[in-house]
């Protein structure tokens, strides 16, 4: 029987000097994953951008459950996007978007 795909949603905080658009952001994440783990590793991540808020500098990405630590390492390795100095931090990880939003509300309080 086909195994159920387990996913994780990651809420991210982007710290950078200026603003970034969603394409620049997700390309940087893909590049970091490709640099560290190659095409084979990147293929396992099922990386997807779910939500991106350039004003609040928040993003939500979806990844395969087994590759959360890989993504965490790849995100930590990003120091620049274009000519901007950038740091990306994982705020919280969750199994559903609903729970992710609940946890994020909790973090704000």
């Amino acid at each position: 029987m086909l195994k159920k795909v387990r996913r994780r949603y990651l809420a991210l905080k982007i710290e950078c000097d200026g603003t970034l658009n969603s394409r620049e952001f997700i390309n940087a994440v893909w590049n970091a994953v490709l640099t560290l783990y190659g095409e084979y590793g990147a293929s396992k991540t099922n990386l997807n951008l779910i939500d991106y808020n350039s004003e609040e500098k928040l993003a939500v990405i979806r990844v395969a459950h087994a590759t959360v630590e890989m993504i965490r390492a790849a995100l930590a390795s990003i120091t620049r996007i274009g000519d901007k100095s950038v740091a990306i931090h994982v705020l919280t990880v969750s199994g559903t978007i609903k729970a992710l939003h609940r946890k994020m509300k909790h973090l704000n309080h």
């Binding site: 630590e69 890989m70 965490r72 390492a73 995100l75 120091t79 931090h89 994982v90």
Partner: protein, 243 residues
């Protein structure tokens, strides 16, 4: 019990108080409970006071640390004699094999660190065997891992993989530190642990390398530096005429 995290190698420019303050505040925000900032050898006592005050305001524990870079083992011994009772953590950056061996077997040294250049990384089996008989830990800075790209990073990862495997087999504690010189290079403890997976550390030992391993060094040294310490295993529990 909630895990407490420590970054024993935060390197702000101490001549820039604004940056130092921001980095201390950011450490707290990223989830650290304790930080150590390397102090210049010439002005240890003056710097400690204002850093301690700044850390208290940011509600984070501060640990004094000096990074020794001796050229010979004789110079190392001289520095250790002068500084051991003044600071909580002594790290030695080993730039020669002679210094590395001396530092590994000296009980007064807490942390061994090695430069990024591969020919200056002397942490081999002999070094680990000496270190396993003392309380020295191996420090790995994450900064070069995130700043280097391409071949230099590949070579560094390969060296770190070998060193952590040796440290594990000789039960030498490993410490993961940020080594951050600016705010954008600071990472959360879990992110440091995730980066450690790149050189083969498993998740539990990587998390220990950011929490219990550095915490145990600080705890041990603070008890040694307290006025109640007499000798290993002997401490004053009560003072007074009836003792």
């Amino acid at each position: 019990m909630k895990r407490t995290y420590a970054d024993l190698h935060l390197c702000p420019n101490l001549k820039n108080p604004k940056q130092t303050e921001n980095m201390i505040k950011k450490s707290r925000k990223l989830g650290y409970h304790l930080i150590a900032i390397p102090l210049p050898l010439s002005s240890v006592e003056e710097e400690v006071e204002w850093l301690r005050r700044m850390c208290k305001e940011a509600k984070i524990d501060f640990v004094s640390r000096v990074d020794l870079k001796p050229k010979t083992s004789r110079e190392l011994l001289k520095d250790l004699r002068g500084l051991r009772r003044k600071v909580e953590i002594i790290a030695v950056t080993c730039e020669s094999k002679q210094v590395a061996r001396q530092a590994a077997k000296d009980h007064r040294v807490d942390i061994l660190s090695f430069p990024t250049e591969l020919r200056k990384r002397f942490f081999d089996r002999a070094e680990a065997e000496l270190a396993s008989k003392t309380t020295v830990s191996l420090e790995i800075d994450v900064k070069p891992l995130i700043t280097l790209k391409g071949k230099p990073r590949i070579r560094l990862l390969s060296a770190l993989r070998r060193e952590t495997a040796i440290a594990k087999s000789f039960q030498v504690p490993v410490i993961l530190s940020s080594g951050a010189t600016e705010e954008s290079l600071m990472r959360k403890p879990r992110e440091l642990a995730a980066l450690a997976s790149l050189f083969g550390m498993d998740k539990s030992s990587a998390v220990e390398a950011t929490s219990s391993n550095p915490m145990s060094i600080v705890k041990r040294n603070r008890s040694k530096l307290s006025s109640n310490f007499v000798a290993p295993g002997i401490r004053i529990v009560r003072r007074g005429k009836d003792c």
